[in-house]
Symmetry: D2
């Protein structure tokens, strides 16, 4: 299962090159993940109230074509690895009008308690474990 | 007593207008405040460990002349009101080479506990109260 | 005429106080302005192609109640002064669920050419002049 | 040849997890590159005046240990591939007091004209070509 998140580029996300600053895409990926969780009636805030958080272990982002203020990007992402301890998410981001690829990326995550020590989500929150498991797309 | 904080402008702080995005100056002001606290052997981290924080109640910033990547700004600021409950800080920011005024600003703050409820710093941390009091410049 | 812009708070917009960093609201206000222009079939990109830009001359923001990741804010704003040379925009931002005021703010702007020299919009782009004029709410 | 850049973490760079938001490290890496260029009497602004820019083609960042406001990081980086058309930079970032690794990263870049079309730096700016060439560390 693949998810789609539509996002307009803001002025403050551009730099003097006239295009989106490359660091901001990392933020858009996070945005896509949290909107997707919202849609599934999960939420980072709910999870954090239980003392669970999902830090990022690695980001890899390949920049293909730039976008700028007023452009709209479509972020498609899917979970390609998940075992309750670690998760890998892959992203393909395109520009809405031209369909051109903007970036290709993946992010690795783990699940931790408040002290940022790794936990197994299966033992700590079965609802979320099942949700992530359900949407796992093996490649 | 007035303080000085020297700061180079980063590429990622510019926008497609080719100059620093106006929201970033609010961050530079915070930076100046925390560096000043460091210099006086105070620190936000230390204060927060005691459950005290210093939220911003108001920001007013007048933009005079733009700066861009590679420029260096000098932030001069002083505490002009302080009573343990509230604090007013005023800033004059200039560009190093030309001496031109970049922004003029002030920020209002209060002191709160972790739940963001107002406290009197005098009762909760006399060391910090005395430090702020000492550097108060009445206008 | 007052405009409304609905906006979810992102994780990356919070700070270690657990709430939105105060500098980010300045960005949300810009977002509201550009979305409003989009709605009226105007756009910053179109304007900038003609060599016109709308720098911010002043920001004043009073912080009333904090919001955090997952919260939704409603930005209501209106143009209260406009003469083709300068513009004043006022904002009231509330949290969707509770209706509580989050911030109250205003921003002052002028219209400039690419070299950031002031121009009169009436002489340089009548379409945009008329649009801003039409939505002026005198107080 | 390896370079070092020392950098204090700002409050506005943290998120509600209490640590630096992972997107900000991408900005710190850019900062390290531009400070290094400054030190060698090169500058992005100078290069951009000639119509040359250095976009990022890829970022890969592995997060090892978190840092927070007030911590100081040391960014050590070196150019490990360079041929005038493309460049690979590797980074090791540690926390000053503990010496712990914070992130390990690399960034890939090319050189382009204003229209973001690839150029060979050797043909367009020999001074900068020679500087990058001189500091190339083959692995």
């Amino acid at each position: 299962m693949e998810f789609e998140y539509r996002r307009r580029i803001n002025y403050y996300e551009t730099d003097k090159m006239g295009i989106v600053h490359h660091s901001n895409y990392i933020r858009f990926l996070e945005e896509a993940r949290t909107y997707w969780m919202d849609e599934l009636e999960m939420s980072m805030s709910e999870l954090e109230k239980e003392g669970i958080t999902i830090p990022t272990l690695e980001v890899d982002c390949k920049y293909k074509n730039p976008v700028t203020e007023g452009d709209v990007i479509i972020i498609r992402h899917k979970i390609t690895e998940f075992n309750g301890v670690r998760m890998l998410v892959k992203y393909n981001v395109t520009e809405e009008k031209t369909g051109k690829t903007v970036i290709e990326a993946y992010t690795r995550h783990c699940f931790t308690n408040k002290e940022l020590r790794p936990i197994n989500l299966k033992k700590h929150n079965l609802k979320y474990y099942n949700a992530f498991e359900k949407y796992l797309v093996k490649e």
